[in-house]
């Protein structure tokens, strides 16, 4: 043991790191950190690719009863959940008599959206996102994608939903 070490207090021997060494980040360390971030982003992209290709989200299977048509007035809405899933959906009876069903989660940050009666628009109150109630397309605001839609079927007075047909993003227009 050298003489210098003996003169130092015990805590310095236990924690032999200088203040500048602990607070200063050198450019060399910063470059290494950037490389680490780069690796993390590549890993994130790998996760997205694997999830998209091998574990796609399950689609709604079959037809599901939602409610009686008379329970929803013109311009009214009804929230529902499909059996076997916990994704919230919103059923809308537009003023012109058309029925629409969309996922109630905004495609921006998953806030609950609502239909603004009379405007033909679905609104996300969190960041002022607007969707077209007829098609689910984004009209304004930060949402990057249209709202995922379900197809609405009317069987007499009963309202059913099922997965939207492939290549057919928009709901079939049904009038009562």
């Amino acid at each position: 043991m050298s003489d210098q070490t003996e003169k130092e207090p015990n805590w310095k021997q236990d924690f032999p790191i200088e203040r500048t060494q602990s607070t200063k980040v050198s450019r060399r360390d910063f470059a290494r950190f950037l490389c680490l971030v780069s690796g993390g982003l590549a890993a994130g992209s790998a996760y997205v690719a694997v999830k998209a290709n091998f574990f796609p989200p399950e689609e709604v299977k079959g037809e599901h009863f939602v409610c009686k048509a008379m329970e929803v007035p013109l311009g009214g809405t009804r929230s529902f959940v499909v059996e076997g899933s916990n994704i919230p959906y919103i059923l809308i009876r537009l003023e012109d008599g058309n029925w629409r069903a969309y996922e109630q989660k905004c495609t921006h940050l998953s806030c609950a959206v609502y239909y603004k009666p009379g405007s033909g628009q679905i609104v996300c109150p969190c960041h002022e996102g607007f969707f077209d109630a007829m098609t689910g397309e984004v009209l304004a605001g930060p949402p990057p994608r249209p709202l995922p839609a379900l197809e609405v079927l009317l069987n007499g007075d009963d309202v059913y939903v099922k997965a939207a047909s492939p290549g057919h993003n928009k709901n079939i227009t049904l009038k009562t």
């Binding site: 060399r28 490389c35 780069s38 590549a42 992209s45 997205v48 998209a52």
Partner: protein
Amino acid sequence: MSNFKDAQNKAHPNKTNTLMSALIVILILNVSMQIWLLYTGLNNALGQNRDIALPAFIASLVLFLIGFFWLYFLPMGYRKNKKK
């Protein structure tokens, strides 16, 4: 025997300074492109457009490898060989 790293470490500080700055700028550019690739891949995957995710991952991996081997050119500065 001298090699590339020895010669680089003995270079003038102005030179290593410029090299370090260039390295960091390129790494930041790489990371920016990777953020964009991740955003695009995720956005398309969530929008039922799965074809983008794999090419985005491959591009992101290539950028990471470029950045990783880029670190070989990181100047190490003067090594302290003297022991107290």
